[in-house]
Amino acid sequence: MELLHVFAQHYNFFITIFLMVSGLYVVIARGNMVKKLIGLGLFQTSVYLIYLTPAKIIGGTPPIVDKAYTVYSNPLPHVLILTAIVVGVATLALGLALTVRIHEAYGTVEEDEIFAKEGEI
């Protein structure tokens, strides 16, 4: 029962870790470059969750000042993650541009085929 209680309280963290590990698995195990970048995106979003989950106060409101409320969630992680999301999409765009160039040079975006062709060239 004690264990179940701990599990319920930390469910957010467990799902976050599952998302992170799934992203890691996709990046390592899959050969398709676009899929790898999507895996990297999974990993990134799980990091956003790690930051935002502790910032929440149950019964609090979003950090917008109003006389009717006194308890606000922590605004600092929100600011950091706002920056991280925008930098993340910049990274994704750069990675996809590289993928397009790789496809042009090798005619494929599969890692195995690229390694096979690299020996020929």
Binding site: Q9, I28, R30, K35, T45, K56, P77, L82
Partner: protein
Amino acid sequence: METFVITVLLTLLAIVTVAIIRQRNMYSVVILSSVYSFLMASVMLVLDAVDVAMTEASVGAGISTVILLATLYLTGTREYPTARGTGIPLFVSVVVGAALVWGTFELPAFGLADTVIHKHTAPLYIEMSQKHQMPPNIVTAVLADFRSFDTMGEVTVIFTAGIGVLMLLSGRRRRDEVEVVKVTESVETFGDDVADENEPDGPNGSAA
């Protein structure tokens, strides 16, 4: 209530993640990652991060999906299974996951107000933004007033990434032009060949 909503949303996120991993059609994967971003935006909304939720919905589900679809148009939509086994990646993932789960046991439970991160800088930011007549949205106040140099650095990063993408893709256009020139040359030589072949026939044809 908030805990219940967030539990349901996170479970949906985990299901969508499994679908993303298993799906081999890249078009489906991109659409699923769009669904994932919208679910993530909903989670952020429940976590009181309204600004982050808006950004995630517009950037994660909007722009990312568009550029991923554009890439699929240029590279193809099928993912092929790799020759390598999935044993080592699975092992690495499970070990990393187990270590992280072990690390969470000492963390405070979800949604408590008296944890460490709510006690030091956050009350100061809230208090000072009201004292100095900053925007009522504290996230905006921190982003644009307290940490505006940070935001300038972020703009620099986006600018650099934009230059990188432009350079990579403009090299591509030049290569296309070269290919077009080659194709035109081959068409011309082909035309010459046809003309050469026609010449002997020409007089015969006219004689007939």
